[in-house]
Amino acid sequence: MSDKQLTDMREHAQKLETEINKVVVGQQTPIRLITTAIFSRGHVLLEGDVGVGKTTLLRAFTRCIGGGYQRIEGTIDLMPNDLVYHTYLGEDGKPHVSPGPLLMSGENLSVFFFNEINRARPQVHSLLLRVMAERTLSAFNKEYHFPHMLVFADRNQVEKEETFEIPSAARDRFMMEIPIVVPDDNAIMESLVFDTKFHNVDALVDTIQADILQFDQLNAFSALLQAKIEATPTLRQYALNLWRATKTPTAYGVKVSGVDMNRLVLSGASPRGMSMLMRAARVNAWLSKRDSVLPEDIHAVFHSTVAHRLVFSPVYEMRRTEIARELLTGIVNAVAAP
């Protein structure tokens, strides 16, 4: 029965990708990674400039997986309670309290989008940290649960004024950091500018088939998937070697141009990070119609699951994206399997 479930759900996942690719063009890799994150039940940090289609992408996914979708904009004056409740004076002239974005959809909340998360204060990051880790929230003397919630956040790496860097503990809660870049293909670029169907996002998203997945079935299916897709001892050893290489890249002869390798890495990938890597790798193997994880499955998610977890010396933080890319490529090239 479980094998049939895996096969059926894979068809749904492929249908999901096809539908999303119809409305968000030239983003096959981010779409595959977000699909992987959804089936791995991991939160996602999107990185990219403004206007590249991050919100459209998330709205499209939300429509396909169903459930509640909530969104909040990160601002410097945003406080944690703004996520929980909203106060206003009603028509009767009395003060009223209504649920904030987190509580609005109750347990049916499936996607919570935090736009420009690095503009919010650390207090807000702190609240989000708990919600992401435990999927619970205490408010009004009551414990609220969000069992199906996935947090998608985005941050603008270009602008640094009035922003607060997300602490490494909060970054580590995200399963993936996915870069969204404008496609380089001329035909796609032209289509994005001149094709009128891309001008109205609401109408565009409405063209996608809704509820391809059942958001409230994803947790159970994910557990089944993780149990079914296996990893051989050789692969486990390979994953451990990759982990060690993120901690001590010099031991594996990894070099990054213009960087003192002895000073670069303050902390490599965390155990939670490696666990998330393997969860994502299992999903990738399943999407590729395999029962076992291959090194190639790990490679497919290695950059997006590990890069944001590495802690570099402050002197190299300004070049984080570029250095992390080169470092992780060097690690994949240096570690052999078998």
Binding site: D291, V293, L294
Partner: protein, 340 residues
């Protein structure tokens, strides 16, 4: 007063002493340089010991003479008239090439006579393409005796007879064409440096071997550029493997993975094989075999559901695949093989 007198007398004394010194010096110089009458006969009795032979002398040879002069008293030898070391005899203004190397003498007083034994050593500094006559010169020594009519100052001289000999050439017969080489200024023939040449050759051999060793080490321990490359090494390892042991299939696959990674200088997987083929285009001809190899590797190392695929054919296929890769790394066209 005395003090004043001393001051006046001292310069006078110095003047007189200087005059006496000048007179004695001029006397010695006169005694040495100017010819004097011959010593009367019967005064000197000569006996000499000359070199045992008078032929076969080469450049650098030393000839010793011992001259014994028994002189009747009151004649006395003037020692300053003896020849000095470094003296070179000249004949018609030209140096003879015979140089006085050492001289010593001893004196023995008898009742009526005095015996002088003079040891003289000459060294030959000349040669010629043919046998050359030479002479140990007749040395003239002077004696001081009673004044006579002939020798009013009492100085007489005695001529020690010369010694004739032959200097042999150093050239080998036939090596020198004498008609073309008659110059007396010709430099002496050099000795042949055979031992030095042998040492030099030995050193060059050692240097050559060292350079070969260095080349071998720098060439990744391969004598030829195409030897000892990764797939050649893997091929040797695979040849030793037997199909009987299932674990040896893994060993074979690992060896081939290692060879591919070493060739590429990074870890090659199926997802970056296109990059490998772009950098090593000689492997493009076996792209399908490479894909097959990675599929096999996945099955063996990473597929938990895979059934036992170990058999003789698989290992044989891997050995042939390794040879194909070896051909590719040598720039040869590999032979195609059937699917595993």
């Amino acid at each position: 007063m005395n003090c004043l007198m001393n001051k006046l007398i001292t310069p006078i004394r110095i003047g007189l002493l200087s005059l006496l010194l000048m007179l004695s010096t001029s006397f010695v110089a006169t005694a040495n340089d100017e010819p004097s009458p011959e010593i009367p006969e019967g005064i000197v009795k000569l006996s000499k010991v000359d070199p045992a032979r008078n032929v076969g002398f080469l450049m650098g040879d030393i000839l010793d003479r011992t001259i014994t002069l028994e002189v009747k008293k009151p004649y006395k030898l003037i020692e300053t008239t003896l020849p000095i070391v470094g003296y070179e005899h000249r004949y018609k203004g030209q140096v003879s090439g015979i140089e006085l190397r050492k001289i010593s003498h001893s004196t023995k007083e008898n009742r009526d006579t005095t015996t002088y034994v003079i040891q003289i050593a000459y060294q030959v500094f000349t040669t010629a393409p043919v046998v050359k006559p030479a002479i140990l010169p007749a040395e003239v020594v002077k004696f001081e005796g009673p004044a006579t009519e002939e020798a009013k100052d009492g100085l007489v001289q005695y001529k020690i007879p010369e010694f004739y000999f032959r200097i042999s050439p150093m050239a080998v017969f036939g090596a020198v064409k004498i008609e073309d080489d008659m110059s007396p200024l010709r430099q002496p023939i050099l000795l042949q440096p055979y031992p030095e040449k042998q040492k030099l050759v030995a050193c060059l051999v050692v240097l050559g071997l060292s350079l070969l060793g260095l080349l071998y080490i720098l060439g990744s321990r391969a004598w030829l550029p195409l030897m000892g490359r990764p797939f050649a090494q893997a091929s040797r390892q695979l040849r030793k493997l037997s199909a009987k042991d299932p674990e040896q299939l893994k060993t074979a696959l690992s060896s081939l993975h290692k060879a591919i990674n070493t060739t590429a200088k990074y870890s090659v997987f199926s997802d970056n094989m296109a990059v490998f083929l772009a950098h090593a285009p000689s492997f493009k001809s076996i792209e399908s075999e490479l894909n097959e190899f990675f599929a096999l590797s996945h099955q063996v190392f990473f597929d938990t559901q895979s059934t036992a695929i170990h058999d003789k054919n698989t290992l044989a296929w891997l050995k042939k695949f390794c040879k194909q890769c070896r051909d590719c790394e040598r720039g040869l066209k590999p032979a195609k093989q059937k699917k595993a």
